[in-house]
């Protein structure tokens, strides 16, 4: 099972967190999509997003890795990305060309990891009603998205995290920092 896989170091990936956001195909998933479902534990020796992408949702939805296209969007219900802290989960999506995940709510670690690596998590209270295969257009500045011809409200990200998004992820944010302001206990 492990044979033939290359362990390739991750190249510096700089992704714009303000991606092209029109007519993205929605890949619809349900509630409590855990990071084991996004990328199973047996693939965690891989650190390269392109290689990880080949196993995204393996065993959960095999057609995803085969048919996903650059710019597609993953849509989930409640608690998307729960479970393990594996950053391989947003990296696998990124490798698959997914730059936006829309969900009713996100698990905390996945939410941070996504922003840090350059996949935009979008909280959309009505994400449940977006249909699989719907065309999605994201209007971040206007505070909504369109899916299947209908408008959906989206929530803004916390202000501090917006700074990381604007920088293009935590690596870019941190690159030129010599030190950080630290609060006292």
């Amino acid at each position: 099972m492990m044979a033939g896989r290359k362990s390739v170091p991750v190249k510096s990936v700089v992704v714009s967190l303000r991606p092209v956001t029109t007519n993205m195909r929605a890949w619809k998933f349900g509630d409590d999509i855990d990071t084991d479902a996004i990328i199973p534990g047996r693939f965690l020796t891989i650190n390269n997003p392109d290689e990880l992408a080949k196993h995204a949702f393996e065993g959960t939805r095999d057609e995803f890795a085969k048919n996903v296209k650059e710019g597609d969007v993953v849509v989930g219900g409640r608690n998307f990305g729960c479970g393990s802290s594996r950053e391989h989960a947003p990296l696998a999506l990124m490798g698959a060309g997914v730059k936006v995940v829309v969900a009713r709510s996100f698990a905390r670690i996945f939410f941070r990891n996504s922003i840090n690596v350059g996949v935009l998590p979008v909280v959309c209270p009505e994400a449940d009603t977006i249909a699989d295969g719907a065309k999605v257009t994201l209007k971040i500045r206007e505070g909504y998205l369109e899916a299947g011809g209908k408008k959906y409200g989206i929530e803004p990200v916390p202000e501090f995290m917006q700074g990381i998004i604007d920088a293009g992820g935590l690596v870019e944010y941190a690159k030129n920092l010599k030190e950080v302001p630290v609060c006292t206990k």
């Binding site: 534990g41 608690n79 802290s85 698990a107």
Partner: protein
């Protein structure tokens, strides 16, 4: 940003964290003495890729003067606490979601991803939103063969898989005051299964007794402020609590064992950071008595650390388990995360004392994982089906 007292990396999330550290322009980690490194998920290396990752991390440890416990000590969370690398009042991060376990010794500890860890290694600080706290007040005395795992499975069922997202859960009440450190670790370990950022027990005499010989520090008071506000308080009584089993494929599905008793199991795993301590294995041994495990079941027992292994060995329990038909492995994560060994084939059923029963967690997505206590696992391993430990 909050200053960090400790940062833990292991063989799965560590390589990526190190790469991110370098990509951020890191050259020296903030304080080598505060970085904890060890390998536990894929040990001894189960593939050339895993071995390559281990080599990469060893090199980093040597360059940075970080003490690397390597493959020798056991599961990261158990080892971190055991070696005194998390202590009351400290802020500790780990590149693993179950880092919240260190709340058992009164630390604020939370799991983070690899990029966050790269940042933490470089700056010794990290951005956080201060979490609100859910107070879980626990009273009553456990029935025989019912314990902390049953309690946390019932709390998870009550709060739900995302009921504590971005919050901390503080475990308090008379039952917690009387609970040993092993039990407190089981509770705090599973805070993440409700989405929580941290689980915590305020340090008390049990905590300070545990810290003796692990960390030189004088006991101090650390309590919630008298005027502290809580997001909510939930009360639990354990006196009539039955053994609990979380059914596939979510952790917040705990039901009394009687509901699923008789379910056939192919594999039983007793171990993990949740339930691989001596106290857990002693409970399993007590249930086993002089009997044997069913030959229809693969029984895998893994102490959580070298120390726990030695305690179990000295008490004669390893011999007892082996003679009863179990496979006893050296300390590591084992089948819990479905990476290294002990994977399920399609259609197989696992009963596990670990913390997650997600679809595919332990192998095939057509397999099923049930979660339970060490007592229920031992009883079920004896009968070959899910069994109430009070009935064997």
């Amino acid at each position: 940003m909050a200053p960090l007292d400790g940062a833990m990396i292991h063989d799965i999330t560590g390589p990526l964290a190190i790469q991110k550290f370098y990509e951020m322009g890191g050259s020296r980690v903030f304080d080598p003495g505060r970085v904890i490194m060890l390998f536990d998920h894929q040990i001894p290396a189960d593939s050339i890729e895993a071995a390559t990752n281990h080599v990469y991390m060893r090199k980093f440890a040597a360059e940075q003067d970080i003490l690397n416990y390597d493959i020798n000590e056991g599961v990261c969370h158990q080892v971190t606490v055991e070696k005194g690398r998390a202590a009351p009042g400290e802020i500790v991060v780990g590149a693993d979601s179950h880092t919240c376990m260190y709340g058992a010794v009164g630390a604020f500890a939370t799991g983070i991803g690899s990029t966050d860890m790269g940042f933490a290694l470089k700056f010794g600080a990290l951005y956080f939103r201060v979490p609100e706290t859910i107070r879980a007040e626990v009273t009553g005395k456990f029935q025989k063969r019912v314990g902390p795992k049953d309690l946390i499975l019932s709390i998870a069922a009550d709060i739900g898989a995302d009921g504590a997202t971005y919050k901390a859960i503080q475990f308090t009440g008379k039952t917690i005051s009387k609970m040993d450190m092993a039990g407190r670790m089981t509770l705090c370990n599973m805070a993440i299964e409700m989405g929580a950022k941290a689980g915590i027990v305020a340090p008390d005499t049990v905590t300070w007794e545990y810290m003796k010989g692990r960390r030189k520090m004088k006991p101090f008071e650390l309590e919630s402020d008298p005027d502290a506000t809580f997001a909510e308080t939930r009360s639990y009584s354990v006196s009539s609590l039955e053994p609990q089993v979380a059914v596939p494929h979510n952790v917040d599905t705990g039901v009394p064992v009687s509901t699923v008793a008789g379910t056939h199991v192919d594999q039983v795993f007793i171990g993990s950071c949740t339930n691989g301590r001596f106290e857990d294995l002693a409970v399993a041994a007590e249930v086993l008595g002089k009997k044997k495990f069913s030959r229809k079941v693969r029984v895998i027992i893994i102490p959580a650390s070298r120390d726990e292994y030695l305690k179990t060995l000295k008490a004669g329990l390893i011999e007892k388990f082996v003679k009863a038909g179990a496979l006893v492995e050296a300390p590591c994560c084992g089948p819990c995360m479905g990476g290294a060994f002990g994977l399920l084939a399609p259609g197989e059923v696992s009963l596990s004392t670990s913390n997650r029963n997600f679809r595919g967690r332990q192998g095939s997505t057509d397999g099923k994982v049930y979660l339970c206590s060490p007592a229920t696992a031992a009883a079920s391993a004896m009968k070959g089906e899910i069994t109430d430990p009070r009935e064997v």
